[in-house]
Amino acid sequence: MKKINRMGFMLAETLLVTAFVAGVLIYAFIQFTNLNKNYEYSYMYNSINELYLLEDVKDYILSDNNSLEKIKSGLISSDYVELNDCSIFTDKEYCKKLFDIINIDNIIVANNYIKNDVTYHDEDFTTFIHKINGSGDSEYRLIASFKNSTYATLRFGD
């Protein structure tokens, strides 16, 4: 009787190993893509130029007692107070001019330790909010997006 050669692998074995290796590589690729996305985000978030521009907004808020009181009362019932329309400021024209000069797209004030489930109507802005970790003793936090697609956040208040 002729001897059957049983060396080598069956298709099933080859497929199994390849599927396993492919699965591991796909998982690694997904993780790497996330890493790359975070690397891109690092250039968009909290650049020094935008932080200094936000400092100008902070100085303006602190110089206007009315706005600070409205922010405090607004945050009692809401996760954030929107500043886009300048309605909380005494001098709306000055506020609009300031926001226009520093190219603000969206800007809110929230508590320093902002909750992770806060959502905003802009998805990218919400993504930025979710990446913020409160720190320090400051009470409030300015969070802004700029028209050049960058984002920044700044603590303020006692």
Partner: protein
Amino acid sequence: MNKKGFTLVELITTFALSTLLITILINVFLIIKNIYYESDLKTKLLIEQGNLSDIMNSKINKDHLISYSRCNDSSFCYDFVFDDGTDTKLIITSLYIKFGDYVYNLGNGSKVVNPTIIKENVELSDISANNSFLVITIPIKNDKYPNQDFGIKLVYQYNSNITSL
């Protein structure tokens, strides 16, 4: 019958799976290469942007600017005078930006594009509040990143009833 070799189905399946794996690996390799080449220059540009922004903002916003004037007509040069009597020059040429003692050497394909210093006023009823802005814009572009601005924008808020710039 000679039973050596592979069937067509086995070969096609193997090639398909191998192609998938190689595509994934090539993508990963290209991303890593991109990060490696990009991060070096971009990091340098962002560090310089941060340094210049920090130095100019610290000086102009903290030391209370009281006046500024052009130092000469041939290049972009302004002299800033502060409350404490000190003055600092801002000089921008095609090769460098100098603010006081700090020098930012433009190189690696970077250039300043239309720097400006402008004033904006708002009419307010409260004469004790800030009503004006001095906006210093120094856009810096790089050939490798044509859509990105590595320059600075500085906003100085003041009361024109008290300080006439």
